[in-house]
């Protein structure tokens, strides 16, 4: 039984997720709000023997209803699902960040105020008198740094006080400001005490003046025609949201007099910001930052990736042992090619996810991510994305799963899915190992041209994919222009960051193992053949539909290699090598996927069996194919939607074949 449900409310950069992670640790569940492209984060924690549920409400700037996020946030609070609302504000920018509190004032749900980032405010020489503020507001107020794990006793104590006292904000001074708005009293008098549950008439009146669509619609249902026309007439000259906004900030100014002491400072850009905001150096600086970040993420990743290679070696040892012990083939295959192979993949992946989560989590916490967003917002805005999306794209040149894991910093679910969907189009490190090799074998000096064409196709691919998926994922109203805060730089708190990183990695492990095991099992079953002749399903299907795949420029050997490349691109060349060398498919596949050496005479084998147009088709097919099984799993882990993961995977398989087809027929014309 849970004692109470706490809702966390705060503007972006108020440290909401830090508090959520610190409170719930690993006891959280991430999903989507029913029928909405908005992420739903819930969790729980126990304190003094009682269990509390925590809802991390979607990021929003105010309590208005201008986006799905804001509507969900507001409905959650007004429907009474929260026993208490924890409103977060940034102590270093109190004046601005108390806007959420001012917009909340007048709602029924009890609340308390948490002033986060005490450390930053202190560094700026600001002092805040919490007791005075608490007296003025009538709700518990506390000051702390969410990254300081020792400070949470204060949090629990404040929470309990708010729950016990069912504390609500003292709104009398705010209402005095509202009363100065023309028509305010007339509107308020026609709204009854119980017009809408969870909201006071004062709050409804302010929202009505702001032209809030949801409130207006609800009032339309509740009120008679007579009083409605009275409302409309009264609000005519009110001044709308600008007027209420002025009132809210006047109230905040009043609240803060005698509460905040700050030294007079002149503002100027720091050295780092001068580079990031530079017209010439901004973009190169961001690209360099991300590349350095990518390199840095290999430092913690490498030891774990090495462990993955040990599992691969173990696989060979176990395989030999099982064969010697005369264990049935099918069992040996299941143990080695499915279970151990999957574990090898997953462990290598985890190393990379850990590195990327750590480094890019650090960039986010320190405040550099906001600068990246600032520099690339205009460019990425054309694709319907935030500036931050540039980071997963760049990381994907190295590894797509790193790109998917890095997309976590995008706070809008639809934009996150779209970012990952586009990041798949970026050829990863494994593709870059194959493309130049194959291009050189077949086209000699023309190889650089192939690479240039691939990069151009990549850009076109991303643009078209953004058009296709963007519609359903990123709503027009979410594509608002840039009005964005650049938060002050923070010193990172390693303890909290590491706890978060290890937590994430553990979580990723359990989720991803399932996906990789299933996919590896399916591919193993498809390619399982007994005895000398090829009896595997994949071989039979591949040869049967060869007339069709030939049209796409892929003879059955290349088609099967293409399918194998969806598991891991590294294996594709090995598979071709095995197939053209005449090895049984089942064996060749298993050997190639665990990194067996390719045939020494591979170049001659390829040139003898594959025509130039077919080679071109194959290069395009595997470059733009779905990246690999671990990227698929990482995508699922980040977007937690089976539907969208499959949709993207299917889309990429189809588009890769189409591109191969085009490349093949263009190739036929040229060669």
């Amino acid at each position: 039984m849970s004692a109470a449900t706490i809702a966390l409310l705060g503007q972006p950069n108020s440290g909401k997720s830090t508090v959520f992670n610190a409170l719930t640790g690993m006891r959280q569940h991430v999903g989507n709000w029913p029928g909405k492209t908005v992420e739903k984060k819930e969790g729980s924690f126990a304190h003094n023997g009682t269990t509390y549920e925590v809802a991390d409400l979607p990021g929003s700037y105010s309590m208005s209803a201008n986006s799905d996020e804001e509507v969900i946030t507001r409905d959650f609070i007004t429907s009474g699902k929260a026993d208490v609302v924890c409103i977060l504000a940034d102590s270093s920018q109190l004046e601005r960040s108390l806007f959420m509190l001012a917009d909340y004032a007048g709602l029924d749900a009890p609340c308390f105020l948490v002033l986060n980032m005490e450390d930053v405010a202190k560094d700026q020489g600001k002092s805040i008198d919490v007791n005075v503020l608490e007296k003025k507001l009538g709700i518990p107020v506390m000051l702390f740094s969410a990254t300081d794990t020792k400070a949470y006793d204060k949090f629990y104590e404040t929470l309990e006080r708010a729950l016990k006292g069912k504390t609500r904000i003292n709104v009398s001074e705010l209402e005095k400001e509202y009363e100065k708005i023309e028509g305010y009293n007339d509107i308020k008098s026609s709204i009854s005490e119980k017009a809408l549950s969870g909201c006071t008439p004062m709050w409804l009146t302010a929202k009505y003046i702001e032209g809030d669509k949801v409130v207006s619609a609800k009032l339309n249902e509740a009120l008679s025609k007579d009083s409605l026309s009275k409302l409309e007439a009264a609000s005519k000259n009110s001044g709308g949201a600008i007027a209420t906004g002025e009132c809210k900030f006047k109230w905040i100014d009043e609240l803060l007099t005698g509460v905040v002491n700050k030294p007079k400072t002149s503002v100027s850009l720091g050295k780092l910001d001068r580079i990031y905001t530079s017209k010439v150096w901004g973009k190169p600086a961001v690209v360099l930052t991300v590349i350095l970040g990518l390199i840095a993420s290999f430092i913690p990743a490498l030891p774990i990736m090495g462990l993955g290679s040990v599992v691969d070696m173990l696989k060979n040892v176990v395989h030999d042992a099982l064969v010697n012990a005369a264990v049935p083939d099918i069992l040996t295959g299941l143990i080695c090619d499915v279970v151990l192979q999957s574990m090898g993949y997953v462990i290598k992946m985890l190393g990379f996810v850990l590195g990327v989560t750590l480094v890019f989590g650090l960039l986010e916490e320190v405040g550099i991510m906001a600068r990246i967003s600032y520099v690339f917002d205009n460019t990425m805005g054309r694709l319907g994305l935030q500036g931050k999306s540039v980071m997963p794209f760049l990381v994907s040149f190295g590894c797509t799963m790193g790109g998917a894991a890095g997309a976590r910093v995008i706070d809008n679910w639809g934009q996150k899915v779209l970012t990952i969907a586009l990041a798949w189009a970026v050829p990863c490190g494994a593709a870059w190992a194959i493309i130049p090799m194959l291009s050189t074998v077949f086209f000699g000096l023309g190889a650089p041209l192939v690479i240039v064409v691939i990069l151009l196709v990549m850009i076109l691919h991303m643009w078209i994919t953004a058009k296709i998926f963007g519609k359903g994922l990123v709503k027009k109203e979410d594509r608002c222009g840039m009005i964005m805060e650049l938060p002050p730089y923070h010193k990172p708190k390693w303890g909290a960051l590491l706890r978060y990183v290890f937590g994430r990695t553990k979580d990723t492990f359990f989720r991803v193992v399932k996906v990789v095991l299933i996919v590896c099992l399916i591919f193993w079953l498809l390619s399982y053949g007994s005895g000398e002749t090829d009896t595997s399903i994949l071989y039979r299907v591949g040869t049967a539909i060869e007339p069709v795949t030939k049209f796409f420029g892929l003879p059955w050997q290349l088609f099967i290699a293409f399918i194998a490349a969806s598991v891991g691109k590294e294996g594709a060349v090995g598979v071709i090598s095995a197939l053209y060398a005449g090895t049984s498919y089942g064996e060749g596949f298993a050997a190639a996927m665990s990194g067996a050496a390719r045939a020494a005479n591979l170049n001659e084998l390829l040139l003898a069996n594959v025509s130039k147009p077919e080679a071109l088709a194959f290069i395009f097919a595997i470059t733009f194919n779905l990246p690999c099984v671990v990227a698929l799993a990482a995508t699922y882990q980040e977007i937690h939607s089976v539907k969208w993961t499959l949709k993207i995977a299917l889309y990429y398989t189809v588009v890769a074949l189409l591109l191969a087809c085009v490349a093949y027929h263009v190739g036929l014309l040229i060669f």
Binding site: Q11, Y61, S62, S64, N66, S92, Q93, L94, E95, R96, F99, M100, D103, E210, G211, G240, A241, I242, G245, E246, K248, F249, K262, V267, S268, L269, T277, K279, G282, Y374, D377, N378, E477, C480, G481, M482, I483, M484, E485, L486, P487, P488
Partner: protein, 75 residues
């Protein structure tokens, strides 16, 4: 004048906001309301403008600037 006509280091006060409800809501929630003081930190052509207001560094896209009417304050 609109905010993008201000020079670097200029100080100004917001006079009025022009735009749809979403724009007004967003500007208000980040603290840009009539009477609010601000200073321009950076204003390069074709780049977002950087301002400092209510203890916060804010970047505004060029098209958003058109909707923010200000009056310059001489120091």
């Amino acid at each position: 004048m609109s905010i993008n006509e201000l020079k670097e280091n200029a100080e100004a006060v917001v006079k009025n906001l022009h735009g749809d409800q979403r724009f007004i809501g967003r500007s208000t929630s980040i603290g840009l309301t009539p009477g609010c003081k601000l200073s321009v930190i950076k204003n390069d052509k074709n780049r977002p403008i950087l301002i400092y207001s209510r203890d916060t560094m804010i970047s505004l896209g060029r098209s958003e600037c058109a909707g923010i009417e200000v009056e310059e304050v001489k120091r």
